[in-house]
Every structure is written in C-alpha cells, then in structure tokens.
Amino acid sequence: MKAIFKRELRSYFTTMLGYIFLTMFLVLTGVLFYLNNIYFGVTSVKNFFSLLTSWAVFIIPILTMRLFAEDRKLKTDQLLMTAPVPVRSIVLGKFLAAGCVLAGALAVTLIYVIVISFFGTVNWAETISCYIGFLLLCGVVLAIGAFMSSLTDSQIVAAVSTYAILIVTVFLGNIAAALPDPFQSLLLWLSPTERFLDFAMGILDPSALVYYISLIALFVFLTMNVMERRRLS
C-alpha cells in the first residue's frame, strides 16, 4: 500500500494536476476568506466554510478523475493487479494519496485562521468542528470521485460523471425544500452538504460523523468491488 500511496502522491506533482488543484483551491479559499472575513471584519469561519462546501466540491474531482481511469488506459492496472498486493491496498493507497493532497491544501488555509487570531478572537470550537466536518465532506466527495474513476478508462468521463452526482447532491437541500414532508426530511437527511451545517454550528454530532465515515467506507468498498469484478469480465 505504501508503494502505491507514494507513487500516486508523487504523480500529482509530476503531472501538474496537483499544482492545478492547489492553485484553484487556494485562489478559491483566498477569495472567500477576503469576502467573508476581511471585507466585513468577521472572525467566524462559519460562513467561509458554508460557501466553500458548495464551491470546493467542484474542484475535488481534479484529484480523483485519473485515480483508476488512467491505470486502465495505460494498462498499468496489469502491473498493479498482478503484483502480490491485495486489491484493498491498491484502492486505499490511491484514495489516501488523494486525501493527503486535499488535507495539505486545507492545512494551508490554517494561515487564515492565524491571521484572524491576530486581529480578533477565534471561536476555536466552531473552527475545529468546521475543519473536521469539511475534511469528512471532502472525503465523501473523494470516495465518490474514486468510485466513478474506477468505472471507466476515460478521465473526462470520470470527472463529468462525478460532477453530475455532485451537482445533484449540492442541490439536494434546495430540491428538498420544494417537496412535501416525508421526502423533504429524507433528502435533507441524505444530503452530505446539509449535514455539514451541523459542523458549521460548532456541533460535533456523532451521528453526522458516523454518516460521513460510512459514506466514505461505502464508496471505497464499492471501488474495491469494481476492481475485483473487472477480472471476471
């Protein structure tokens, strides 16, 4: 697993994709930080993260689109699948590499928190829960992206299909609002972005944690399954 993780992580920075992602992420967070915090002189990161969730999900597929699709196109899956390594290590190694780049990018945004702490008081409970929640939410997006990437040999198809799912998820809250109650609460309950609102309030709700972690586990597991199944074709 370590070998796969290391290679994947390095490939983000030899193929530019890692830099593209980091640049977009930092520009996006920089703009949002300026608009939400500096401009209005607000010390709370709540709004910053609420907005970020809607936008960030659209750059995360950059990290996942090539994860498995590229291997299939280059036939390097023949190397990985015939190596004495279990499928779960291959999938986890790749997933964690993508997660690592994301966590790295998120770590850079801590600078903003430090900036805030110079000019006002930081609500640490809220900030920490926002970071945890956001990381988990991104984990879900990464897992969905990885899963879509395992279904195809085209990076474009992987990215576009991930976007399709994400668009529906992001607007699930809005769609829910238009529906009568049993459906409304169900959709709200299902929506990963609605769940995030709890974290933004500074609440570390165990059920939300479990929800995110099980979603991640589900898609990682499905990805492993796809890889196993493909041998049968």
Binding site: K6, L80, M81, A83, P84
Partner: protein, 310 residues
C-alpha cells in the same frame, strides 16, 4: 512449476481459451506460438491472475491461484503485451516503484541489478514516456525481473526491438531460463525455436501441437510434400517439355525465372539426380537446384490452417 488443467475463458459467447491443459517444469522455457487471436495473451493473463478463468485450475509452484492469489503472484514476473509503464516517471523511479510493490528489501541495489541485466542502465534518469519502443519494452522486461520471481511470463518480449536488441534479449531469456521457469509467446517462429525447450502451438483457444522445436519440424517433414526450386538456362517450352516427361512425379509452377516443383511423396527419392541427367540430355544447363527444407514456419502454417478447415 506451473500446472494448468482444463483452462477455459469465455468472453460472452466467444471462447478465447477452450480447455487447455499443460505443465511447465522447473527451469524450462516454454514457447507459446499462435496466430493473432489464438488466446495466448488471454492464457497469460489468467496465469498471472489479471483476469479470472471461466473454469479450470492453475497452480504456480503448487499454489492454487484462486485459493492464494497473493502467494501465487509472488512467484511470477509478468511482462504483458503492452508494457505497463507510467510515462511521467523516470526509469529508475518506475523500477524502484515496482521493486517496492513486490516487496524487495534492498531496493536501490536490486533496481541497479535488473537495469543492468536488461541494458537500461544508460537511460535510468530519462522519463519513460520519452523512451523509444524497444527501450520501453526493456524497461517492462526489467520490471518483470523485479523481486527475482521463479516464474517469468513474457508476452511477445521482443516486439518493437531492432535485430541487435532481439539477439541480446534472446541471450538474456536463455540465461534466465537456467534459474527461472519461463513462458514466452510470439507469432514469430524463429523467435520461439531459438530459445524454447518446448513449443506449444495454440490456435482458436486450443492446443494444436506440443513438442520440442526439433521434433515438430522433424515429424512434419515425414508426411508433407517436399519442394524444390530449379533454374534452367533455356526456352520455357523446352524446359517444360523435359519437366512434363516426368509425368506425375511432381507438379511444377513457374515463378519468374525459376520453377518450383512440388514433389510427390513417393517420387521424392533421388529426383535431383534424375532431373540433372534429363536436362543434361536435352542440353539445358541447370543453373540452380535447391531443396527447400521444411521449417517450423511450415509446421505452424500447416497446423493452424488445418485447424481452420475443421
């Protein structure tokens, strides 16, 4: 070392591999020979655990590939038809990655060793994507050697190489065959007969023949017609008159200046001598007379076409 029993692979309705059984002994070099689409790559993909079989059994060093896939894979080095390379990596990065993947202990030293064996030491710092096809093939070969596996499975190992490289790689395969069990595939016969201890001719997913290269050529010699090529100085009418006088000992065909005779099996004996005197009598000098040997090529064509007619 390798036991394969009743191996079958279906792709939908298509039977890519149709019940093949064979074993490969320790330290043996087995050649898979067959036309395009014979099922060579499919068989190799099953041996290495890349795809699963529809039915049948594969044991590598006594380990069943279904019961303990990791244990079986640990013993195999595989060079697929298209070498599985990451173009953005340098050769040394790539080989180190493969070594790590295969759990090699002293990665740097081992990487240098396999690079030296396959002659890629000079390109270690180049990016894989910028290498020529022959060198990419070599890097793929080096990757197959990583971890010093007991079994090497090489799918068309010399494809895309120049003649000098082919000879080098053949030497390498032959030397590896002393300590490893090797299966290699090709549609080029000279390729296979040059290095293999035993040849397995595949066609349509079945085994059409199995023997040493020498035996295959010999057995075929017995029951096929011989051919002879002659060149005579003279008018074609005169030549054909002489040839006609031999009756049904052979049939002939004109190819440019020359005549190709297809001899009848029972008349084949001593025909060269008879031809010489016949043409001498007609005062037509024989400029060239050549018996064509039955090559493995003929055996291959014979066997695979027979299969098609069925």
């Amino acid at each position: 070392m390798i036991e394969v029993k009743e191996l079958v692979k279906h792709y939908g309705d298509k039977k890519a591999v149709d019940g093949i059984t064979f074993t490969v002994n320790d330290g043996e070099i087995l050649g898979f020979l067959g036309p395009n689409g014979a099922g060579k790559s499919t068989t190799m993909n099953m041996l290495t655990g890349y795809i699963s079989m529809t039915s049948g059994e594969i044991r590598i060093g006594g380990i069943d590939i279904i019961e303990d896939p990791i244990g079986a894979k640990r013993q195999i080095g595989y060079l697929p038809e298209q070498p599985p390379l990451y173009p953005e990596m340098t050769v040394s990065e790539y080989l180190c990655f493969v070594c790590e993947l295969k759990g090699v202990k002293d990665i740097q030293a081992h990487m240098k060793e396999i690079a030296a064996k396959t002659g890629v030491t000079g390109v270690l710092s180049r990016r894989v994507g910028n290498l020529s096809k022959g060198y990419r093939q070599r890097v793929g070969f080096a990757a197959a050697l990583a971890g010093d596996p007991k079994v090497l499975i090489l799918d068309e190992p010399t494809v895309g190489m120049d003649p000098n490289q082919i000879i080098e790689i053949r030497e390498l395969i032959r030397s590896l065959g002393k300590e490893h069990t090797v299966i290699l595939s090709s549609h080029i016969l000279s390729e296979i007969s040059a290095v293999s201890d035993r040849v397995l001719i595949m066609d349509n997913g079945k085994i059409a023949a199995e023997d040493t290269p020498e035996n295959l050529a010999r057995s075929e010699k017995r029951d096929t017609v011989k051919r002879m090529l002659i060149r005579i100085d003279g008018e074609s009418e005169q030549i054909e008159k002489v040839l006609d006088s031999f009756g049904d000992s052979f049939t002939y065909e004109r190819i440019n200046e020359d005549y190709e005779l297809t001899l009848n099996a029972d008349a084949a004996e001593d025909i060269g001598r008879k031809l010489f005197f016949a043409f001498a009598k007609a005062e037509l000098p024989i400029l060239m007379q050549k018996e064509e040997e039955v090559s493995l090529e003929d055996v291959f064509i014979e066997l695979t076409q027979k299969e098609e007619k069925r």
